[in-house]
């Protein structure tokens, strides 16, 4: 097991196309870190640089206290699970698992012991004589996992390992992966574009876009306190609602004004926040709130003292999810918002309804795709 330290890592293809820039990260021994971002954000490239499958253009990668920039992948003491599993089609499952150990000239007995142990751990003992072709997607996935485990490497690298599985199997395997990590405690770096996977698996998640790190934090912190509008929009499903407007002052309280239909008193009791808000008064800003920060009842957290958090919206589409329903609404300005509220029968579509917003769970961003969150309380 080992720490992985990336310092100012960058990747430029053909001296023209920049894929990764200024990547700095300290991954602790035994930690499970997830790189997440839309396709083309550089997450896989970064992982492949750690694996040694791509040259590192700038900066250094350090595994277990050793800079590995020019070390061959086989000597980095890592194991990788690929999106398409990359099982050797002409070898049996046993040989697939044993191949890496054979190349390292490990004694036969030791190979048999390790393969047996990994197979037991993953429940694939009865498959050892089969070829990959005769396995289901889930079984192949486990064999790929087994091939990584038998090596007992310092670091596991996963490149979207669940994306070829069907939705149900993906959730099951996800849990197994987490369970496995809790047992083995091997440092793990996991790449995915699926924000749900990132949230559920990671000790910490690294949100990337355009080759840069946007935010590194625990899943809940990233969800609750996104540093900018990109991170806020990327994590969470359905995505966060955004409304353009400005900050005005009503008496002592800062108020977010969006057109003539939204006047929301902002919480300004935390130190520093009031000053931050005051600094942005009168400038164009963006209010962000998640669908579950809306309710049709002005009760509990949706009933702040002084009120002023009601929105009158026209409902267009109602999508029942079981215990919740997603309501698509239109603002008077014609913008589409989504509210996730408690389910009830016969929720009316096509009517104007009053919704209430939880002022404790709103964010205010500067304009632009990467506009910083000015309400983010210091960690």
């Amino acid at each position: 097991m080992a720490q992985v330290v990336l310092r100012n890592v960058g990747k430029v293809y053909d001296r023209k196309v920049r894929a990764v820039e200024g990547f700095n990260l300290d991954i602790r021994d035994g930690e499970f870190v997830v790189f997440v971002g839309p396709s083309g954000c550089g997450k896989s490239t970064t992982l492949r640089m750690i694996a040694g499958l791509e040259d590192i253009t700038e900066g250094t990668v350090d595994i277990g206290g050793r800079v590995v920039n020019h070390v061959h992948p086989k000597d980095r003491d890592i194991a990788m699970v690929f999106q398409n599993y990359a099982l050797y089609p002409h070898m049996t499952v046993f040989k697939n698992l044993a191949f890496g150990l054979m190349l390292r000239k490990m004694p036969k007995e030791e190979i048999r012991r390790r393969v047996g142990e990994a197979a037991r751990l993953l429940g694939i003992e009865q498959l050892l004589e089969r070829k990959p072709k005769a396995l289901s997607g889930g079984q192949r996935q486990r064999v790929a996992l087994g091939r990584a485990i038998v090596r007992e490497p310092q670091v596991f690298l996963f490149d979207e390992p669940l994306s070829n599985l069907d939705a149900k199997l993906r959730v099951v395997t996800r849990t197994e992966l987490k369970n496995l990590h809790q047992r083995l405690r091997t440092t793990t770096i996991y790449v995915t574009h699926d924000q749900e996977e990132a949230m559920t698996l990671g000790d910490r998640i690294v949100v990337m876009s355009n080759g840069r790190i946007q935010q590194v934090d625990t899943p809940l912190n990233v969800y609750r306190r996104p540093v900018n509008r990109f991170v806020a929009a990327f994590l969470g499903s359905p995505p966060m609602n955004f409304v353009e407007g400005t900050i005005a002052r009503e008496g002592q309280r800062p108020v977010f004004v969006g057109g003539d239909w939204l006047r929301l008193a902002l919480p300004a009791d935390q130190p520093g926040v009031a000053a931050d808000l005051a600094r942005h008064e009168g400038r164009p800003l963006v209010l962000g709130f998640r669908p579950n920060a809306m309710s049709e009842h002005a009760a509990g957290k949706f009933a702040p003292p002084g009120g002023g958090n009601a929105l009158r919206l026209a409902t267009t589409v109602v999508e029942p999810l079981g215990d919740k329903i997603d309501v698509s609404c239109q603002t008077p300005a014609g913008q589409r918002l989504i509210a996730r509220i408690d389910a009830r029968d016969n929720f009316p579509a096509g009517q104007t309804i009053e919704f209430f917003l939880d002022p404790e769970h709103v964010h205010v961003f500067e304009p632009g795709e990467f506009g910083p969150n000015i309400l983010r309380p210091p960690a």
Partner: protein
């Protein structure tokens, strides 16, 4: 968890059922016609190989030799060292095939799996050599072989065929269809290029290698012109050259030519029957994978 092996089963509606009778009859009639047309020359060859020298010329009128002479086949071996020719053909074609498969596979690996500067340009240069007709190369090849002292020897027959741009091209196209993540997985598992080549890429390229081997063997087994200009020694003659003995300025011995060529045809036919599923795959290779 649904853990059943995923086995694709395709059912085409209507397949296996009788279609419209008229169209089926037409199709079968057409196929029969093609089959007969293809078979006639061989039947004719067999008949000629069993005829006497005088009967052969009358065969177009009689349609069947009046006396059958199976001894023609034995006579071939008495008149010329036919077994030696067989050996020579196998020996030369076998070695050319082995060497060509090795060199082409290695070159194809370099052109498909290893990144090096100028790779695509050099490959285009290779392909360019395919545009030059083989006959044009005869004279320079001959000069080189002569200069190397390989004239009138097995070396001279084998070495020029030990490499081929076509084979490299074919295997490269095949190797490009093998996912590179397998190489990467093997590299992380601890394999260098040689291991990746021998233990991962080559086994997976087997269908392509077999097709190349078949093409190569058959092509060299039948090769006529190069041995003709290179070989003077009777004992170095290959089968196609051997057949020429019966067609000399003193007369053409048609029954013996037919008997000998019929025997010479046996190995290719056997190879085709044994490996024809790979050959079909090889033809698809060019068609589908591109």
């Amino acid at each position: 968890m649904p853990e059943q092996p995923a086995q694709p089963r395709t059912t085409i509606v209507g397949e296996g059922r009788a279609g419209l009778p008229i169209s089926r009859v037409a199709v079968f009639a057409g196929l029969t016609l093609f089959g007969v047309t293809a078979a006639v020359p061989f039947v004719w060859q067999i008949l000629m190989s069993l005829a006497t020298l005088t009967d052969v010329d009358l065969l177009t009128q009689t349609g069947f030799p009046p006396t059958l002479l199976p001894s023609n086949y034995g006579l071939v071996f008495e008149r010329v060292p036919f077994a030696k020719y067989f050996f020579n053909s196998f020996f030369v074609a076998g070695w050319v095939t082995i060497l060509q498969v090795i060199t082409c596979a290695m070159a194809a690996y370099a052109f498909s799996r290893v990144q090096w500067p100028g790779r695509e340009k050099v490959f285009l240069l290779y392909l360019g050599t395919l545009m030059i007709p083989g006959v044009v190369l005869m004279v320079p090849n001959f000069a080189v072989v002569l200069g190397l002292g390989m004239f009138n020897s097995y070396w001279g027959l084998i070495i020029p065929g030990a490499f081929s741009a076509f084979g490299t091209f074919m295997l490269r196209q095949f190797m490009l269809t093998i996912p590179t993540s397998l190489d990467e997985a093997a590299a992380i598992d601890g394999a260098g290029h040689w291991r990746i080549f021998t233990e991962v890429v080559l086994p997976l390229a087997r269908p392509g290698v077999i097709v190349l081997a078949i093409f190569c063997f058959l092509g060299n087994y039948n090769s006529f012109f190069w041995p003709l200009i290179l070989v003077k020694d009777v004992n170095l003659r290959t089968l196609p050259l051997g057949l020429l003995v019966f067609d000399s300025s003193y007369g053409r011995e048609t029954p013996l030519i037919m008997a000998a060529s019929l025997m010479a045809m046996v190995p290719p036919v056997v190879i085709f029957l044994l490996l024809n599923r790979y050959l079909v795959k090889g033809i698809q290779l060019g068609a589908v994978k591109g």
